[in-house]
Symmetry: C2
Subunit: 344 residues, 2 copies
Amino acid sequence: MSQPHAPAYRKAGVDLLAAEEVVRRLKPLAAATRVPGVESTLGGFGGFFSFPEPGGEQLLVASMDGVGTKMKVARLTGNWEGAGYDIVSHCVDDILVHAARPLFFLDYIGTARLDVDVVEAIGRGMSRACREAGCALLGGETAEMPGVYLEGEVDLVGTIVGAVRRTDILPGGRVRAGDALIGLGSAGLHTSGYSLARRVLLDDGPGRGALLGSGPGTIGEALAAPHRMYLPAVRSYLGRPELHGFAHITGGGIPGNLVRLLPEGIAAEIDATRWETPEIFREIQRRGGVADVEMHQVFNMGIGWILIVDPSVAEIWTGELNPDWGAVAIGRLVPGEWGVRLAT
Amino acid sequence: MSQPHAPAYRKAGVDLLAAEEVVRRLKPLAAATRVPGVESTLGGFGGFFSFPEPGGEQLLVASMDGVGTKMKVARLTGNWEGAGYDIVSHCVDDILVHAARPLFFLDYIGTARLDVDVVEAIGRGMSRACREAGCALLGGETAEMPGVYLEGEVDLVGTIVGAVRRTDILPGGRVRAGDALIGLGSAGLHTSGYSLARRVLLDDGPGRGALLGSGPGTIGEALAAPHRMYLPAVRSYLGRPELHGFAHITGGGIPGNLVRLLPEGIAAEIDATRWETPEIFREIQRRGGVADVEMHQVFNMGIGWILIVDPSVAEIWTGELNPDWGAVAIGRLVPGEWGVRLAT
């Protein structure tokens, strides 16, 4: 926690070069606002602020995010409640990578014309997810902006504020060669890769009503599947010394998210044959003619969360997490050229 | 602070009946998520959360808001930096009504196609406002959603988290008959009433390049004027027993915002002839043929902030605040039928 302040600027569905340029330009502007209490963001899924006293034992961790282009799927399928669940779940997972427990959540719903039923459905999903996370839906805002939003479209944005004891923060400097990687199953695309998925499966594809593979579910249902919240899975491991790090697999896939946790001189070896790629990803790959490597850079490919753990607990924890969370031993950390090596 | 949890749901540029219905439907969904630490929102400009210990001395106050349709003016005038300043300033003022000092701010920028220069300009404005407020720009998110936003349009959303000592919270139950009302000057429309203003002055009017009145400024410049941040004005009065309440004059004007502070059996008498209505409001009224009463329900009409104070300090504080903040004695509280009576 001694690095200089790096603000938690991120991207959603933004082309990578522009996103990097955004971060490059906003970083000094954010750094100029540093006040007592601001602490390093450790790679940027959440911003850290020590409260009530600067440098204190408890830190607040805050993150703001949007559902992204999955909102188009919510509109197509009418599953607005799912979007409400998604935004809370995504935000909870984003600060959980730092071992933070959520305290409260706020939402913003922007649209051209307010549809009260849509807002209520989103609210139902947010309320359900907040109850699952044990965090309060503390407030929100709805805005009607006909000249800004396309008719019928909705943007949904959330802010989560959580807390973590300084000594429990992940990654806490214990990530090292020999560590085991446990992957937890995803429920589908979660909230990443929807621009590509929509183009291949909807715009240029069979459409949302078509069966996925041999069914019984449809493509629309698979695309609307909820973003899984991993807090209930890993809650009992928080603060355990054998837990070295978490990766939330969002845009960038396993390589893009896991690499942020690796120290110099450490490589992650992932064996993607250890789990079965869910049908929705195979359908996208088949119809889009997308290469393996690109698939893994855009989608979670069936693994939504990774625990980096001491090898002494790997087998036990995998066994504990397997029944409900589809836990699989997916690889390990080794000395070598920094990066993620993925065998498909 | 003993009322049941009422979530801080608000509206921006939304028709009033739909907005009330939204609040009615979301309230129970938010209430169902109540956890230890959640405290009453006292009328809803911010949500209260006691941290680190539930029921403790310090409370976090959080609020999330968007710039609203003023974003259309930012696009027309190219004054994106102003929009960045506006969102921080608006959020700071929203929790300042509860006497909370800002700790940190997060932003969300949604658009069809990311323009790095636009994002940077917004960032400059946010950084400047955060430095003025003494709060940290802790993080943010940019999202590119071509199917949701109209080409070239931007939505800008902010979340502020501040803190207040429980004993300092406003309004703290001291608002009473005899209290004096001190109004502080606004810098223009701030972030309210832009749908009406744009229609009258731009779409059906002379356009942004036309001179406002006899000039020298243009209508576009007047519409893009920044949302004034009142924290520097009132910082030294926070915690003073003679300070009974604050009203942030946003959508709903003086009547809509002041009325939320009045106890049963108390009326506010405002004499709107005590200050000069700025030219921009007179221009809107003249061109739109808008009645006085409607003008006051939509716009701040030149008063962006009201202090409700003990009459013993009214003259001194007005004198102290007059030179920099255009402070004027605008009225008082009297026993009578609950509501705001405004003489124009």
